[in-house]
Subunit: 274 residues, 2 copies
Amino acid sequence: MGKMPDRRVYRIDMDQSDKPTERESETELPNKSAVPISLVTIKAACSQCSLHELCLSEGLSKEELAKLDNLVGARRKLKRQQNLYRAGEPFEALYAVRTGFFKTDVLLEDGREQVTGFQMAGEILGMDGIGTEVHTCNAVALEDGEVCVIPFAQLEMLSREIQALQHNFHKVMSRELVRDQGLMMLLGTMRAEERLAAFLLNMSQRFTSRGYSAAEFHLRMTREEIGSYLGLKLETVSRTFSRFQEEGFIAVQQKHIRILDGGGLKKLLSHQPR
Amino acid sequence: MGKMPDRRVYRIDMDQSDKPTERESETELPNKSAVPISLVTIKAACSQCSLHELCLSEGLSKEELAKLDNLVGARRKLKRQQNLYRAGEPFEALYAVRTGFFKTDVLLEDGREQVTGFQMAGEILGMDGIGTEVHTCNAVALEDGEVCVIPFAQLEMLSREIQALQHNFHKVMSRELVRDQGLMMLLGTMRAEERLAAFLLNMSQRFTSRGYSAAEFHLRMTREEIGSYLGLKLETVSRTFSRFQEEGFIAVQQKHIRILDGGGLKKLLSHQPR
DNA sequence: CGCGCTGTTGAAACTTGTCAAAGTTTGTGG
DNA sequence: CCACAAACTTTGACAAGTTTCAACAGCGCG
């Protein structure tokens, strides 16, 4: 929890009566200890971006890419623990993660938190705000990172022009819906062991598809955040990790995870209902 | 479970390797015991449709509505227990519920079912299929009903032309994402009592916004389906309903629910974590 | 009219949560 | 650079909530 008081809360009854508050003191430190942005561009450049297939630009022609580049106005740097946006703030843009690791969460008045997702490079944030013009969840950087800012009105305009862009965007939203289905399945039917196994395998797979090791990675989130995401208490997460370790499935060292027996984890998944 | 064998199953590891199967014997009984469709149209007619604000047609001009009418090719009638689509089938169209009551669910190989939503008049089904061109869940009629068929390729085409249509569609998808957030919160953090209270209030509110009584309604789904939706066993649902009745919050008579003390239910919601 | 599906209820078992204490790591300021 | 505090993690014992198993009742459909 920690920084709770300054995040926005979710009213159960669907009335999003929260007022937006003052924004983060837009800490756009102009390259303090920054990665030397080389000569290339300060502006975003989808055409150069290594996240192609994950993002919106797949299958666009050169000219179309140029238009998209033009649209993606700025990048925004986030420090660890900084909010990208908060529930209640007016919605204006989507964000594509370039670097870093994010979480989205929803808070109840009584302090309960539900982490609704962890996002990494190439994934899109902010789509929750389209329906009501107001963000309904909080997006927080779990480590220093950077996002591309995609003004939404302009994205709609451009996607009326570029069919492939339109379709890519629809695909991204749809995949998010499918991801949610999977998470509901997990939250609704799985036991703690299965949830953690599914979580680890999912992380592994996403790291892999970004070119990192499938077997060894660093979790950026706390046990409590994992627990919140999976509908478990942090103690249960901790205990289950320990059990996995005893059984030789993984080696845990704080936030470092090494998967020793992925097959074993998979077997846990298609096993038994509760 | 009952009709389990003929629905499609969800592979945990995201590989949707299921092959489509033969479709429902397209029972387009041409008005057997049908509601007399008057002279108006056999074709769908968004312009006439009473579901305006819920659906895609809000804020369109007359000519634009005419185009949308033209797009929404046919209606499809479903009998109780009939599948609108199944996981694994190729995705071609969205469906707008005109009448009746539907559920969507996802199945695991081992037989576990997660109901991911209940849909009523004015709500859109099928968006799960956009991302992969294949449906990822099953949609089933819980009572006889009818949907408008909206061929997706044409919807994209038309929404490149009509800005309001484009935006409406984006809003619909986004609201679905927000709904999912709420369900995750429910599944991840709430106790049985709270889940049921939230469920009843949600039903009540949706019936209300369609002009039905807020206090008295007929649930079309079984206790098992409610349980699956809420991540509970059917016995727990039953027990909790009984408890609510004892405490004077509701009157239950099988699938008929009468809400006697909505305030009491709301209080349950913003109460205590578990 | 009866069979089957659906719903209700009880008792016991099990999983997960709660509370508590102690260990570990990280970050900060002197 | 060290010391200390805060945050995070681990582990145990116990409590609570939910599931499981089982039996029975009721309604509805054929």
